[in-house]
C-alpha cells in the first residue's frame, strides 16, 4: 500500500513539474513568443473569452502577478480547458487532438506491443543459447540498429518500398481522396496498408534496445545460483529458461521498458512526420510550424501524461510480479 502511494505521489509530482515547465517556458523565453501568437488570434477574430483563456495560459498582456497567473493556469489545465487552436481556428484544442489521437495510439500501441514481445523473446532465447548462432548475430546487429535515427529508417523505407517498389503507400493514414473513414473492410485494409511502413520503421529502431537489455539481464540471471539449482533438480530446459531465469530477468526491465515509451513516442513523432501520418506527432510538428502554442502545449502534456501512466502501470506490474516488493513496502 505504501509503495503504491509513493508511486502515485511521484506521478502527481512529475505531472506538476510538467505543468510548471509548460507554464514557465513561454514566459522565460526571450522575445515573448506568445505575443505574436496573440495578435494572430486577434486578427482571426477571437472572442474575449477565448482571448482571456489564452492570456491565462501564456501570460501575455497579463497584469496579474506571476503567482496568480500560475494558479489560474493550473485551474484551467485541470478543468480541461486547453484553449483554442490557432491553426484549426475556431476548434478547441481538445477536439483537434481527439481526431489525431487514435492514429497514434494504433501505430504506437501495436508497434510497442510487438516490439516488446518479439524483443523480449529474442533476448531470452539469445541469452539462453549463449555462443550459438543467434547470439553471435544479435548483439552487433541490434547495437547498430538502436543507434540509427528514426527518421532515416523511415526515409529509407519510403525510398525502397514506397517509391521504388511501390509496395506500400508512403503518405498519410489512408487514401483521403478515395476512402471515407468508417467501419468497413476496405477502409480497414487501407489503414493497415498505410500503417505498415511507419510501423516497420518504428519496430526496426525500437526493438534493438529491448532485445539487448533483456539479453543482458538474462545473462546475469543465468549465472545465479538458483538457475544452477534448477539444473541440479533436473528440471526441463524450457522451465528453467522461463520460470527461473526469464521471470527474474524481466523484473528490473519492466520500469525501464515503460520509460522507453518516451523514446518510442519521440520516434513516432519523427516517423509520422516523414510519412505525413495523421497522428499526434505530426500534429505537434504542424502546431510548431504554425506557432499554434495552445495545441503544442496540450500535446506535450498529453505525451507526458501517457508516459507517466505507462511508468505507473509498470511499477504496479513489478510490484505484483515480485513478491519481495510486495512485502518490503
Amino acid at each position: 500500500m505504501r509503495y503504491a502511494l509513493r508511486r502515485l505521489g511521484f506521478f502527481v509530482l512529475t505531472l506538476w513539474a510538467a505543468l510548471t515547465i509548460n507554464f514557465l517556458l513561454p514566459r522565460l523565453m526571450p522575445g515573448n513568443p506568445a505575443l505574436a501568437m496573440m495578435s494572430k488570434f486577434h486578427s482571426a477574430g477571437a472572442t474575449p473569452q477565448t482571448l482571456r483563456a489564452l492570456e491565462t495560459l501564456f501570460g501575455v498582456n497579463n497584469q496579474q502577478g506571476l503567482l496568480t497567473q500560475y494558479f489560474g493556469y493550473l485551474h484551467q489545465m485541470l478543468t480541461g480547458n486547453f484553449g483554442t487552436s490557432l491553426s484549426q481556428y475556431p476548434a478547441s484544442v481538445t477536439s483537434v487532438i481527439g481526431s489525431a489521437i487514435w492514429w497514434t495510439l494504433g501505430l504506437v500501441g501495436v508497434t510497442t506491443i510487438l516490439a516488446f514481445l518479439l524483443g523480449t523473446g529474442l533476448g531470452i532465447v539469445s541469452a539462453w543459447r549463449r555462443g550459438g548462432k543467434l547470439d553471435s548475430v544479435i548483439p552487433p546487429v541490434f547495437v547498430i540498429t538502436s543507434a540509427i535515427p528514426y527518421f532515416w529508417v523511415a526515409m529509407v523505407l519510403v525510398l525502397i518500398f514506397g517509391i521504388t517498389l511501390h509496395w506500400f503507400p508512403s503518405q498519410g493514414g489512408y487514401y483521403v481522396t478515395t476512402d471515407t473513414p468508417g467501419l468497413n473492410f476496405t477502409f480497414f485494409q487501407d489503414v493497415l496498408n498505410h500503417a505498415f511502413l511507419p510501423a516497420m520503421a518504428l519496430l526496426i529502431t525500437t526493438i534493438g534496445t529491448w532485445i539487448l537489455t533483456m539479453r543482458n539481464t538474462m545473462i546475469t540471471t543465468l549465472a545465479e545460483d538458483y538457475v544452477r539449482m534448477a539444473r541440479a533438480k533436473g528440471l526441463p530446459g524450457w522451465r528453467i529458461m522461463l520460470d527461473y531465469a526469464a521471470r527474474n530477468a524481466i523484473l528490473p526491465n519492466l520500469v525501464g521498458f515503460a520509460m522507453s515509451l518516451g523514446f518510442v513516442v519521440s520516434g513516432a513523432i519523427l516517423v509520422e512526420y516523414v510519412f505525413n501520418y495523421p497522428g499526434v506527432g505530426y500534429m505537434l510538428l504542424q502546431a510548431v510550424d504554425g506557432e499554434d502554442y495552445p495545441l503544442m502545449q496540450a500535446l506535450f502534456l498529453l505525451i507526458t501524461v501517457a508516459v507517466l501512466f505507462a511508468v505507473l502501470a509498470a511499477d504496479i506490474l513489478t510490484a505484483i510480479l515480485d513478491p519481495r516488493t510486495r512485502a518490503a513496502r
Partner: protein, 337 residues
C-alpha cells in the same frame, strides 16, 4: 564407516576456466582429483577459499557453466559415467539419486516462487505425481527438517536464514537420494545455527542412510561429523584419510597448519600459528610442490619435483618428504591432539 561398495568414483578429474581469446592459457582450477565415496559415508572436503573445492563439487554434479569446463576425468555414479552426458540424460538421476545443497539459500532459491512451488517443480520433473502426492511429500520433507509445512506457501525472503537452509535440505530430501552434495551450507549461519543444522544433517543421514560430500572451510566444524576428510590446496588433494586419524596425526604440513590454527578446548594452551603467505594465484603455480613457498619443512627438491598422492600410514598424502619418510615427528615439533 563404509558399508560395502562405492557409490561414487571420481578419477582424474580436472576442471579448467577458459580465458577470453588472447589472454593466455586456461586456468586449471581442479587438477587430477581422484577419490571414492562409499554408501552412507560422510566425506568432508576442506580448504582455503579458492582451492577449488566448490568447483570440484559442481564438476562432480555436472553443474559447471562457462567459462568453467570439465577438461578430463570420469565421475562414476553407481557405476555409470556422468561425464559427457547431456542435461536430458542426466535428469533421470538428478535429484532422484543425487541432489545438491548450496551455500546461500537466499541465492539458491528462486525469489519469485514460493517454497512449495519449487518443491513441486522438482517433484513434477521426475514423474507425474498427483496434487495430493505432491502436498504429502512436500509436507513430509519439511517435517523431516523440523519446519512447519505451513511455510510451503512462503517466499524465500520471508523465512529466516536458518529456516531457509533447512528448507533447502528438505528439498534435497524429496526423493531420499543416495548421495547429497553440500557446498558450505552452514557458512552463512551463526555458530549456534550452524551446529543445529549439522546435527540435523547427521541425524537425517543416520536415519535414511544417504552419503554426503560436505565442502567447508571450517575444519573444526567438520571434524565432529565426517567419516573421512579430504584436504584440498590449489586445486589438488593434499591429504585424504579417516577424519579421526588425520586429526590425531596430520601428515601434510598444510593440514598441520590448518589444525594448529584452531585452539583445542581440552589440550594445553599453545600459541596460535597461522600459515604464512597466501594460496597461489592459479595462473602462476609454484614449481614443484605447490605448497613449498609456505611450508615450514620444505627442502631443495620440494621446489623441483611435484609430488604425487602417496599412501602413507593408511592416509593418502601429497608430500615428497612423507613419501620417502624423511619428515619425522621430532622435526615437525607439532603436538598431536
Amino acid at each position: 564407516m563404509s558399508e560395502g561398495h562405492e557409490i561414487l568414483e571420481v578419477s582424474g578429474l580436472s576442471v579448467d576456466y577458459m580465458l577470453p581469446q588472447g589472454s593466455g592459457a586456461d586456468i586449471r582450477a581442479v587438477d587430477d582429483v581422484s577419490f571414492t565415496v562409499d554408501r552412507g559415508e560422510f566425506l568432508g572436503i576442506v580448504g582455503e577459499s579458492g582451492c577449488g573445492k566448490s568447483t570440484l563439487l559442481f564438476a562432480v554434479a555436472q553443474l559447471l557453466a562457462p567459462p568453467a569446463h570439465l577438461a578430463a576425468g570420469t565421475v562414476k555414479f553407481k557405476g555409470a559415467n556422468l561425464v559427457g552426458l547431456t542435461d536430458r540424460q542426466l535428469s533421470a538421476i538428478r535429484w532422484c539419486d543425487l541432489s545438491v545443497v548450496m551455500q546461500s539459500a537466499m541465492n539458491a532459491l528462486n525469489p519469485v516462487k514460493s517454497i512449495g512451488a519449487q518443491f513441486k517443480d522438482a517433484l513434477q520433473a521426475h514423474g507425474k505425481p498427483s496434487k495430493e502426492e505432491i502436498a504429502a511429500r512436500s509436507a513430509a520433507v519439511m517435517r523431516m527438517v523440523g519446519i512447519d509445512p505451513v511455510h510451503l506457501k512462503s517466499y524465500p525472503h520471508q523465512l529466516s536464514g536458518g529456516m531457509r537452509q533447512r528448507s533447502m535440505i528438505a528439498m534435497a530430501m524429496l526423493f531420499t537420494p543416495d548421495l547429497i552434495i553440500m557446498d558450505e551450507p552452514t557458512s552463512a549461519l551463526d555458530v549456534v545455527a550452524q551446529r543445529a543444522l549439522m546435527l540435523q544433517i547427521k541425524e537425517l543421514q543416520q536415519t535414511y542412510g544417504f552419503a554426503v560430500i560436505f565442502v567447508t572451510h571450517d575444519m573444526s566444524l567438520i571434524s565432529h561429523f565426517s567419516d573421512r576428510l579430504m584436504v584440498m590446496y590449489a586445486g589438488q588433494i593434499d591429504e585424504l584419510g579417516a577424519t579421526r586419524t588425520i586429526f590425531a596425526r596430520p601428515l601434510h604440513p598444510y593440514t598441520q597448519g590448518l589444525l594448529e590454527a584452531f585452539p583445542s578446548i581440552h589440550g594445553p594452551r599453545v600459541p596460535l600459528k597461522g600459515i604464512p603467505g597466501n594460496p597461489p594465484d592459479l595462473a602462476m603455480i609454484p614449481s614443484g610442490c605447490r605448497f613449498h613457498p609456505r611450508c615450514p619443512h620444505a627442502v631443495e627438491r620440494c621446489t623441483v619435483t611435484a609430488p604425487d598422492l602417496y599412501p602413507v600410514d593408511g592416509d593418502l598424502v601429497r608430500c615428497l618428504r612423507r613419501q620417502d619418510g624423511s619428515l619425522s615427528s621430532r622435526e615437525e615439533g607439532s603436538l598431536s591432539r
